[in-house]
């Protein structure tokens, strides 16, 4: 395979990013534990971050995303931390009320 023998370039980074994205989505879809789902979200965000940083690198492409990509990645890291903090607080509150964090047991609201 050409992909495996050629020197590491943009497509390799994108492949890692895509792998992280797919892993994260599968994690979100199959995990029943809220914390597992939140970990899946982090994987998806980091997959996107790898894309941003790879697209921004001047070593892979002449015409690149430039500093904007790096900046986006930095902001995403901060926002992901904020979102995780709030989501964990909400999960804790849910645990206090229901004594579980299994999303399948969250079925009081239906219709």
């Amino acid at each position: 395979m050409n992909f495996l023998t050629e020197p590491v370039g943009l497509s390799h980074f994108l492949a890692v990013g895509a792998f992280l994205f797919v892993t994260g989505v599968v994690c979100m879809a199959t995990k029943r534990n809220t914390l597992g789902i939140l970990m899946g979200v982090e994987l998806v965000l980091n997959g996107a971050n790898i894309n941003f940083v790879a697209f921004a690198s001047p070593y892979f492409r002449e015409d690149n995303l430039g500093l904007e990509g790096n900046l986006l990645a930095l902001f995403v890291i901060v926002l992901a931390a904020a979102e995780a903090a709030v989501a964990l607080a909400i999960a804790l509150n849910y645990y206090n009320n229901h004594s579980t964090i299994d999303v399948d047991k969250a079925n009081e609201l239906k219709g």
């Binding site: 994108l14 990013g17 994205f21 994260g24 989505v25 979100m28 809220t34 789902i37 939140l38 899946g40 979200v41 998806v44 965000l45 997959g47 996107a48 971050n49 894309n51 941003f52 790879a54 697209f55 015409d63 690149n64 995303l65 430039g66 904007e68 990509g69 900046l71 986006l72 902001f75 995403v76 926002l79 904020a82 979102e83 995780a84 709030v86 989501a87 607080a89 909400i90 999960a91 509150n93 849910y94 206090n96 009320n97 229901h98 999303v103 969250a106 009081e108 609201l109 239906k110 219709g111």
Partner: protein, 570 residues
Amino acid sequence: MFYQLIEQLRIDTLQQSLPLFGAELTLVVAIVLILLCRMLPVLEKVDSVWLGIVGVIAALIALRPFQPWSIGADGPVAIAMGQLQPTETFTGMLTHDGFAIAIKAILLFFLLLFFLLTKITKLSSRFDSADFVVLALGSILGMFVMSSANHMLMIFMGVEMASVPSYALVALQRRNKKGSEGALKYAVFGAGAAGVMLYGVSLLCGVLNSAHLPTMATRLSELFASEPSGSEVLVLALGGLMLGVGLSFKLSAFPFHFWCPDVFEGASAEVDAFLSIASKTAALALLVRVAVGFTTLPAEPAQVARATPPTIEQVAFVDAEAAPEKALQSSDPLAPARKFVVLLIGVVAVVTCTFGNLAAYAQTNVKRLLAYSTIAHAGYMMMAVPAAIAVAEVDKNSARQAIAYLALYAVIYLFMNLGAFAAIAFVREAVGSEEIKDYAGMLKRGPTLAICLTLILVSLIGLPPLAGFIGKFAIFAAIAQAWNLTSSPFLMFLLIAGGLNTAISLFYYLRIAKVMTIDSESDDTAPMQRPIGIIQNGYLVLVTAPLVLLLFNWDFLNAWLLEAVSHIIT
């Protein structure tokens, strides 16, 4: 070189951007002050809701919705809405134009009424009120960013800034089991949708090599003009779809609507009003920004930064000025993108609308029913976007008109849904129930509330004597006009689907009205614990009155919105 860069950044930030950023800055100051007040023993006793109201009024004054600020030759000057040229602020991150100002004014006006409502229903105790007010103000700040976003970073940041505080708002009543479940679902789905959206953004930015929306549109037109490879188009379409996932989550559009009923049932009625009006208006504004941004070419960069050395653009986004002439050579390179957007948003709008209306029938909880009604209304409002995009190249005036009608619907929707959720909150206070069956005999138990809620429901259907009719009719008129100009069968389909949906929605709204007015109280109806007070009735009348009065004269509103959008599609 370095010194020059800093100097340009200073001029751009201090002289150009910050004066146009007054409303946001006021909100930030209000948030900080409200938090600081808790530290002083003297000010601790002041209810934060009042401080929040003062902050919102100050922000409205700073925004000047009828004579917005513009940057003239010597500092900021106030000019008429129609003359306001779109100005990019903070090196192209945000855009300052009439559309953003109109949406921000609607949001602030809503927030004012919302704070008054929570004061009447005593949603938050005095010691919790600072948290609640700060969360609401912070969420609105994110919606401000959404409505004026001009850069992919700002789009993502706005969505997150608006979402994260609203997760916490849903979870406000900590001991409520349903509330905590709703908040958990909202937070988990929201985080997932944001992640997928970000990945889509990364693909779009990577292919188009920019994150600045107008630059991306220019690159997109260049790409389409030069015979793109299949894989590039595939990646673009995939990125667009993933961006759509995030937007449709915020809009609660099909297939990402499922959080909406659960969250609405779990949260208190006041927070539901916030989610269904503010959050949805901002999401629609963002949808318009993204859809228009990707399918129309930006105006010449000459309009971007004025009264300063033009070098600022060269620093900020490298080769934006070389692009437009090249793109203009080919007749209409963005036509494929436009077709994609029209089809995607149109189909999603129709399915959302139909699904919301059909699912509403089976509901017994009034908040859940209104959640589905919210989904359906998001569908109606989204229909204006394909109507605008379809004619963006043919007739710019009717495209602008369609967007103005969308904003008009949002204003009317504000009164309708705020009134409906306020009535639910008042009934919850008086009866202690949110089931439809407990509304029986409301005409005798609380006549003013019953009459106002009936008027609001009829308006939500869109029947002629009330303002809801204006909104719906305006949207359908925009679609019909677009069909007239392009004679595309898809727009006709959109029109028919919208009309049919209005007919479907008739019965479930009228069911509540019937229970309230015709059914009499039976033994299993929850008894009145306390009467509905005069302040509550007064508030409801205040919110319902515009629905009746707007029919006599809504031209001023339409004229203002039309002026506001006069530069959005150039």
